[in-house]
């Protein structure tokens, strides 16, 4: 009995089953480094209140723009706040913003994609709408939305989510359209399943893997966009620590104290790069199986 149980558990068909993916990921050193880096950053961001040596909002004007030293490992910023602390809190905000946005974006995008694949009549209108949205650069679209919706975490998440949704809708529709061809969709219909049940239990379950992979790629984009909005002043308002706005604050003193902008920009760069590398690796891992 017990051997049977283990046989059952190891033979999961899931394309994104974790242990399996991790083992194959280990053969791609670049992706592994990216994964480790991201895990470290995420853990550090989550534990920022415990790890940070100073208060992120504690200004000290006599100590402003100090280069890295023993006391302040990464120096201080324009208000004399500890840069390491600011970066930890900034990463926390930016990552949370990016994650919330990608969740919103994938919900919207997946709904549009699945609906247009399932109801062929909706395909034309919905996909043309997506085409229109895609014709704007996402930064412009995000900017316009952020300006329209005003400042604040909620409106920022909606703006970022909406600008991430169109490409996700495309991917979801393409995947769902191929799943719709499968005979098991007919099989579900014959036994009398409702449209809702068919979409949830048959369509979504079989589309999930490519959509999740694509979202992991989009995550980096969204973070970049979030930082860009912060940099342009449309993000969260100071004194909130956010990587984009930290980079923007240091911009005026880039020659005097380059460490402020550089550190924030580098962190953004590293996070986005890691997301892209990891997303690429995920895609490569799942692709051959999807093509079958």
């Amino acid at each position: 009995m017990s051997t049977e149980m283990t046989a059952l558990e190891t033979a999961k068909p899931a394309i994104v089953s974790r242990p399996y993916l991790l083992r194959r990921l280990a053969r791609d050193p670049l992706a592994l480094v990216a994964l480790i880096f991201l895990v470290v950053i995420v853990v550090a961001a989550v534990l920022a209140p415990m790890l940070a040596p100073f208060d992120p909002y504690d200004t000290n004007l006599r100590m402003r723009l100090r280069p890295p030293s023993g006391q302040h490992l990464l120096g201080t910023d324009t208000q004399g706040r500890d840069m390491l602390t600011r970066l930890l809190y900034g990463a926390r905000t930016t990552l949370a913003l990016g994650f919330a946005s990608i969740v919103v974006g994938s919900l919207i995008g997946t709904s549009i994609g699945l609906a247009s694949a399932f109801y062929r009549r909706l395909e034309g209108p919905l996909m043309r709408l997506v085409d229109i949205l895609l014709s704007f650069p996402s930064i412009l679209f995000g900017l316009a939305l952020a300006a329209m919706l005003g400042v604040g975490m909620d409106s920022l998440v909606i703006a970022l989510g909406l600008s991430a949704a169109p490409p996700i809708a495309r991917v979801a529709r393409a995947t769902a359209a191929s799943v719709m061809q499968a005979e098991y969709m007919d099989a579900g219909r014959v036994i009398g399943l409702s449209d809702g049940a068919l979409i949830r239990r048959y369509l979504l379950r079989n589309c999930a893997a490519p959509i999740v992979v694509y979202c992991s790629l989009q995550f980096g984009e969204t973070i970049l966009l979030a930082a860009a909005l912060g940099f342009l002043g449309l993000g969260l308002q100071p004194p909130t620590a956010e990587l984009g706005s930290i980079a923007a604050e240091g911009r005026s003193f880039i020659f005097l104290a380059p460490h402020v902008s550089t550190a924030a920009s580098l962190l953004i760069f590293m996070i986005v790069l890691s997301c892209n590398l990891l997303g690429d690796a995920f895609r490569d891992l799942t692709d051959p199986k999807l093509q079958r």
């Binding site: 068909p13 007919d186 099989a187 036994i191 009398g192 239990r201």
Partner: protein, 367 residues
């Protein structure tokens, strides 16, 4: 015998069923209609197996899909247990559709790969309230036993099974809603020959045990001969001949039926019937021929066939046949004695005999 059967009403009655697909040409305004199924009528009695045979593309699958509600008919009526399937409220229709289930051709594609076998089989029963969540496990075990699988298979995923086993799962899933009619859409043509026999025997056993009726869609004539009570032959969306199995197989009336039977391979060299061989392909259903749809390929076609569409009319032995000339043609003997091989086959056989002779010579000389 037919008069006896007509006493109790048929389980399923199909009247004038047609399906026309609208196909767009190069430009949106160049709409053309493809008539996949054309005015098809037949009935199935309780416990009976009706086979639907024909070339691929003749509309037999479309007919089956209309019965289970996957495709909406363009015109015609489907009466199940005397009631019109389409003229009902949604919930009534769903309850009625439950009694007609479908077994798919492709056992690899017809099971949701993300569900365990237990979930797959329990799903339809739970959906129609035939089992509650507590009773579902017992029901799954019972159904698995019915199709020759073990209870322990319930926790596995479809991809862990062979083609034949998957087809059994598909059958169990169809049985879960207690149907009376099962449309088998080429249920064995994707399987190994050795497994085909098992599945066909399983289907027959289930029929005896549960009193099921089958609409058996196939192009495998040997399987059809084995399983059916009656046979309907389709060509280009029309039924050209329908009747009891013996009548169709022993004394086919329609020239197309004859050609179809003559084309079936016989497992003995030299035993192949030198009957009608057809030339050319089936015409496109987008542009069907005038008159009898079979006339461009029919060796017996006359002017009348080009103009007048033949209707199904009684042709003896309880059959219906749609041909203007079937009475004249029946004089022709399909089974000409002393069958000849095709030239290519004859050459190959000669070569084979030569090689065999050389081989035995060699063996004799070596001993």
């Amino acid at each position: 015998m037919t008069s006896l059967n007509s006493a109790d009403a048929p389980l399923l009655q199909v009247e004038g069923l047609s399906k026309k697909f609208s196909v767009s040409g190069t430009w949106p305004w160049q709409k053309r209609t493809l008539s996949a199924v054309n005015d098809v009528s037949f009935s199935i009695d309780p416990g009976e197996t009706l086979s639907l045979v024909g070339e691929s593309g003749c509309g037999k699958s479309t007919a089956g899909r209309m019965l289970v509600g996957l495709t909406a008919p363009s015109s015609g009526r489907i009466l199940f247990e005397g009631q019109d399937v389409s003229g009902q409220s949604a919930s009534q229709q769903r309850a009625m559709r439950r009694r007609i289930q479908l077994i798919f051709q492709d056992p690899y594609g017809s099971l949701n790969p993300r569900m365990t076998v237990g979930e797959l089989i329990a799903e339809p029963a739970l959906l129609h309230g035939l089992a509650d969540h507590r009773g579902a496990n017992d029901r799954v075990a019972e159904l698995l036993g019915l199709v020759g699988l073990a209870k322990r298979h319930a926790g596995r995923y479809p991809h862990e099974f062979s083609g034949g086993q998957r087809q059994r799962i598909g059958i169990a899933r169809a049985l879960a809603v207690e149907p009376r009619l099962i449309v088998c859409d080429e249920p064995v043509s994707a399987l190994d020959v050795s497994v085909q026999a098992q599945i066909v025997n399983l289907l027959q056993g289930l029929q005896e045990r549960l009193g099921l009726s089958y609409l058996f869609i196939s192009h495998g004539l040997s399987v059809v001969r084995h399983i059916s009570n009656r046979v309907a032959v389709m060509y280009l969306g029309n039924i050209v001949e329908i009747g009891p199995k013996a009548a169709i197989f022993e004394r086919p009336s329609h020239p197309y039926t004859r050609a179809l039977l003559a084309a079936a391979p016989v497992a003995r060299p030299g035993a192949r019937q030198a009957g009608i061989t057809l030339s050319g392909d089936m015409p496109s259903p987008l542009d069907p021929p005038s008159g009898c749809r079979f006339h461009p390929r029919c060796p017996f076609a006359i002017e009348r066939c080009r103009q007048e569409i033949p209707v199904l009319s009684p042709g003896g032995e309880g059959r219906l046949v749609a041909c203007h000339r079937w009475q004249e043609i029946s004089a022709f003997q399909t089974n000409t004695s002393g069958a000849r091989h095709a030239p290519k086959t004859a050459r190959l056989l000669a070569l084979y005999r030569q090689a065999a002779a050389a081989n035995s010579n060699l063996r004799m000389s070596s001993t």
